[in-house]
Symmetry: C2
Subunit: 350 residues, 2 copies
């Protein structure tokens, strides 16, 4: 079986794709544990990190870490089909997952995936994100990372202010034997926790974790992106909670239920009460929207809506929000040159 | 009966409240006809108009009209209860109608309304806008003006580029005899058309006209405000028409039907095809939103939604859009000092 071929002599060879806050803190934890050797793919920060390394202010690891460099740094995803290096044991993908803007995750990592050997770890939000990878890489383990870390990266500086609490588990819908996949997950958790500063745990129920996280992401993130309003103001308005957040949370819970994932009713109020950060907290999709960045609307909003349609569950609030978010994403695409507005184009309705 | 007391010797004494593009072109048409004497309430443009008058570039009246001044100019709504002037025959209200931001239309015009004499003309968009006025001024005629004019005002300069086509009619739900109200409407139309350049017509069915206009206003205006995307781009995307505009149009049509107003099904496609202006046309609510101005969401979106709830008609797309628009309006209110975000406020859900 594929994962049995994994290199069981340490260090594990790990490729990290996506060195924002989440990815860089993962590379740090893995490197200090001594059981992993990380190759980071850096794009915009390649030069600055080559010269001076990352500087890190971390709630878990220390407030003034200077000059951190992973074992290897590369500008592009390595092509293992033409390399004589040993294959990667793991590829950790910590990019945003935006299938409507190329490249897809599958296309991005394909050159570095060694069939039957490399475990692919999706440290990303959203639902059904494993499906294109299972199809493309049927002999590879596909692992799910659901992270509650709060960490942001700007020009090689990391501000990590919410502890790294991540559940790593096995996507149920994969072609590789699930016990082998579980062993691969446990090896990575062992390497991750080896530094003693953070504790990743094994996720026994990936579907539950992902639907549970959607209760927040497909409500607060969605409304924040569409309105530009932070969580505290939403609560103070009351109607934004009662008439937008609550309906979205209830719809997500109903869809999950129809999909066989029971999210306890208590969670509705839990997600109304949570997030009592200091200050006016803006969910990440709201931040992305404000900055004109592409948003993860397909995996966070489109995917549960497709489940709703498949299962015949009404989701009118989610549907309208999804279509409005697609509209905002269209502006992002136009600004990035991925969509062009041509006035001379024929009115398709005329 | 009240309106019988109207001054039938010309000129009619008319108070115009709201001298944007629509209001100023109304004052111009009325003054050149010679059958009306207009008093305009000017706020931001009082000084410039006093000094040099309005300058007007009009598709109906001429491209280079300089120095137009209505017969009288005032900074505030005149208080007729303490004045010995003759009462106003008409008050034409051409402000935006935003009941959620004070003053209301009723409060604004109250000092100038002479009971039993003054006809109140609401040259404004939206549904059920007459109800507060009928209640407040039960002895006054309340008239409906539904305008298709395209005219904008900036610092006393008017750009009027879509012809003034306005239906003036009688709101059915009023306490004054409807025949008297109709006579009042016909007198005003006569005065309006006297200049020979524009033709207002009598509106035999105000409810139909207002619901019909909502097909556009509660769809394109709403989506433009929520997304910042113009009508041409909406069409080019296709999904914005299919998944947002069409559902909104269908919901409005269904609510109207339940309210006893039959909008022919052909109108759905008519409003998909209309608006083939040159260039990328941004509906007015989209312009307001972009400029941070308050929006007419209560009269254009809230009012039909309340009808839907009263009549038991599902309107899920309209409901979600309404609540998102209320959220955007909350930001406008905060910027205007009408709502304050206090972090120390108790989380009402904790």
């Amino acid at each position: 079986m594929p994962a049995a071929k994994q290199n069981i002599e340490r260090p594990w060879r790990i490729l990290l794709v996506g060195s924002g806050g989440v990815g860089t803190m993962a590379s740090y934890a893995l490197e200090i544990g001594g059981k992993a050797e990380v190759t980071s793919v850096l794009r915009s920060t390649y030069d600055i990190v080559t010269k001076q390394g990352f500087s890190i202010d971390s709630v878990d690891h220390g407030r003034d870490i200077q000059g951190f460099r992973p074992s290897h740094i590369t500008k592009t995803v390595p092509d293992m089909t033409t390399s004589d290096s040993k294959p990667f044991d793991y590829i950790i993908v910590a990019t945003k997952n935006i299938p409507d803007i190329p490249p897809t995750v599958s296309d991005l990592i394909a050159p570095a995936v060694t069939p039957g050997v490399t475990s692919i770890v999706l440290l990303q939000n959203g639902l059904n994100i494993e499906l294109p990878l299972v199809e493309r890489f049927p002999t590879n383990v596909i692992l799910s990372g659901v992270s509650l870390i709060g960490a942001a990266e700007i020009n090689g500086s990391i501000k990590h202010d919410e502890p790294d609490f991540t559940r790593l588990g096995v996507f149920p819908n994969q072609t590789v034997d699930l016990e082998i996949a579980k062993a691969s997950a446990l090896h990575l958790i062992d390497a991750y926790n080896a530094g003693g500063k953070v504790e990743w745990i094994f996720d026994e129920d990936v579907s539950f974790s992902r639907w549970r996280k959607l209760l927040y992401n497909a409500s607060y993130n969605v409304v924040a992106a569409l309105t530009g309003i932070d969580v505290i103001r939403m609560r103070m308005s009351q109607f934004m909670i009662d008439d937008l957040i609550y309906p979205l949370i209830r719809e997500i819970r109903a869809i999950a239920m129809a999909a066989g994932v029971v999210l306890p009713k208590d969670l509705e109020l839990f997600f109304i009460k949570c997030d009592t950060h200091e200050g006016f907290f803006m969910p990440s999709m709201g931040q992305d929207c404000r900055k004109g960045n592409a948003m993860e609307i397909d995996t966070i909003v489109g995917a549960p809506l497709r489940e709703a349609d498949r299962l015949g569950v009404p989701a009118p609030t989610l549907r309208t929000c999804y279509n409005l978010l697609r509209s905002l994403q269209l502006k992002v695409k136009e600004n990035k040159g991925l969509w062009t507005a041509r006035f001379e184009a024929k009115n398709p309705y005329a």
